[in-house]
Symmetry: C2
């Protein structure tokens, strides 16, 4: 009999318990053993659930119970989750989590403890909700060198951008619609500023490249600066604006960023709308593989947690699985060395002069148009240009025009 | 040291050897042991490869060598592969294959032997080339009940349909272009008649539903009947014609078919072009998840084979993994009980009378148009209708009009 503890009875926690009991006979046949949830840890009271007898408030009951071999952490945040998970792994218990902050900040350390103790630390639900991505990245593509990852990793921002693109809704209106529908939090910063996407690309990049990528080292730009004008110009470009988490292998180091980007409508990422997520993985042997589905939600995320529970129960005391090392501080490259195409939107003092200057600095421009374009407005796509040079050139150009928008153009 | 044998040195076999040695150090660290290919079995001579000393022509050298624990079967076809694989599993060796015909026809039997002998029989490369699909279906979605699968499973036919849709190329021209580019065989029947897609949906359905779905029980319709007129009407419908392998859970039984279908351009499957494949999996907890990538090709397929080699080497003598049972003969439902919408194209003796009759039988019609539509031509989408009734009604309608096209409309 495998005895499990669930820490946290919020959306994901209650979903996990629900999915677990709904599919228990199938789960047991996959584990090859009977299984049960012995404890549910939550400081709040949940009277009248069918699991009344399982609720506890004292973490030490779990830590000190030798019957418990697999613990699910779905509290979220670093505190107290980090301390809890560390103690559990050190006590020789396998841990399953959906906590992206925990994995993005402390993954290497926790994986190291898990390996030492020959137990497992799994986190399929931390990226892409119910989309299988962590395990396929690790297992199924194990014969590949993964060169690049580009993903729409946050459903809230993708919903907002979809509303802006398809319905011409302004950012603020789209955000409040998302809030009304429960897709965005009252404080939407973690989503719209790109921090959620940043944690997720850190996890994917760490796994793909084998060394920890820390959020603090990743250039992160959200979608609060994206305007309806940008969206309209992107339509003329023949694509859609998406918030992309991006990671690329550069020799022994890595380039990683989160930013809004123009994506050609030919791309499999351009058609990913509403709250859906999609992750493109470029392997040296497989070419591009894309995983698509609901990136959040109670049941999708819970099903990812439960699939990890099954694997942890099957593989307990056999930690040959996920792993990455810690990294030194310059593992992630500064963006300055990268080259990208940029979309730029200007309000010009002298349009002819501004465009001439831009073309001098940035190569042949692809000029874009939109309905209701004002006379002194100009928008274009540059040639590929070094990021640092682009920043410096923008300072020069700003003497001739106000730069109202600049968004990278990524090629997938 | 894990000693491996590769049977068959064609496209996939030589790719497997190439990917194996290219990534050997990474592979060994994932296995947790040294690994080498000891034999390559092929009746043909391959002089001057770096592996000259490994080639053998006698299968029994592999079968009787106790050092060999993992054998790769990439010969293809049922004969001699079936006999070889069966003997190997019975001798306690794990087998990895890319052979969809073998798995679709003999999967239940071979999985049963593997389980008895506590070894593994893996076949990630048999569906979707380098797209991870078999293992994600089994593992990552193990907390789901999988209700439905719909896939673009054959790159050759998808290439032909893409040429017809995007370039207005006729079927025959698109086929010969595919042949010139090496995407289609000189005898293209297995692809264009749908047999290749049929084997693949059988494998996916067997895994998803836990019982063997045999190709002979699956209604299979290829794309040879799809015309440019159909493609044009589908454009007016707002979608694309795709060859779909489809499987749906129906209580304790399954509905499975392969047929061309109108797919709305809103669907993630509609934008899958050229030789790409995509597989949509509908789970009761995850909702729709889509896996997209190159469904064939030397290196993608080889990388799937090598990832199975890694797993087989790690898990040898531990066969808790993939499994499905044999099924009785009526596990797969006859199509007659299903309901679908249909696209129908008519050349009418009396157009008004034909459309009136069609609407009487099939509910409110959505009439479609195309450029250069002839005066006596009519095309429409029916309401949802029982498959058997539709067939019978077509006989009635054919007194008023010649039925030039009928294609199912699937909703994803």
């Amino acid at each position: 009999m495998v005895k499990i503890a669930v820490m946290g009875y919020g959306v994901v926690g209650s979903g996990t318990v629900e999915v677990f009991y709904k599919n228990l006979s199938g789960i047991e046949s996959k584990i090859g053993d009977k299984a049960d949830i012995k404890y549910i840890l939550d400081l709040r009271d949940f009277k009248g659930t069918p699991y009344d007898d399982k609720f506890i408030k004292d973490f030490n009951l779990i830590l000190n119970d030798p019957e418990i071999t697999v613990v699910v952490e779905v509290i979220g945040g670093l505190n107290p989750s980090y301390g809890f998970v560390k103690s559990l792994l050190e006590a020789g218990k396998s841990v399953v989590t959906s906590n992206k902050e925990l994995v993005a900040e402390k993954g290497a350390e926790l994986l190291h403890i898990a390996r030492e103790k020959k137990v497992n630390f799994f986190f399929e639900a931390s990226v892409g909700g119910g989309i299988p991505i962590i395990r396929p990245l690790h297992h199924c593509m194990s014969a590949n060198e993964i060169d690049e990852i580009a993903g729409i990793l946050n459903g809230t921002t993708n919903f907002i951008l979809t509303k802006m693109i398809n319905e011409g809704m302004a950012f603020d209106d789209a955000l409040s619609t998302a809030q009304k529908l429960g897709y965005a939090e009252r404080n939407p910063a973690a989503d719209v500023e790109g921090h959620d996407s940043c944690r997720k690309i850190c996890i994917l990049a760490s796994l793909a490249f084998g060394k920890h990528v820390y959020p603090k080292d990743v250039y992160t730009e959200g979608i609060t600066g994206v305007t309806l004008e940008d969206v309209q110009y992107c339509n003329d470009f023949g694509g859609a604006v998406k918030l992309i988490g991006w990671a690329s292998r550069r020799g022994e180091r890595a380039a990683v960023m989160v930013c809004p980007a123009f994506i050609s409508s030919e791309s499999q990422l351009a058609g990913v709308n509403d709250v859906f997520n999609a992750i493109l993985v470029r392997g040296d042997a497989t070419g591009d593989v894309v995983f698509y589905g609901k990136g959040a939600g109670k049941l999708p995320t819970a099903s990812a947690v439960v699939s990890d529970i099954i694997m942890a129960a099957k593989m307990h005391n056999n930690s040959k699985s996920l792993y990455w090392e810690d990294s030194d501080k310059d593992f992630v490259l500064d963006l300055s060395g990268l080259e990208n195409k940029f979309y730029v939107r200007l309000i010009c003092k002298d349009k002819t002069a501004a465009l001439k200057k831009a073309e001098e600095m940035w190569g042949k421009l692809k000029v874009l148009h939109r309905d209701d374009e004002s006379e002194n407005e100009a928008a274009f796509i540059t040639a590929k240009i070094n990021e640092r040079k682009f920043r410096e050139d923008c300072a020069v150009l700003s003497e001739l025009a106000e730069i109202k928008g600049k968004i990278r153009v990524l090629d997938y």
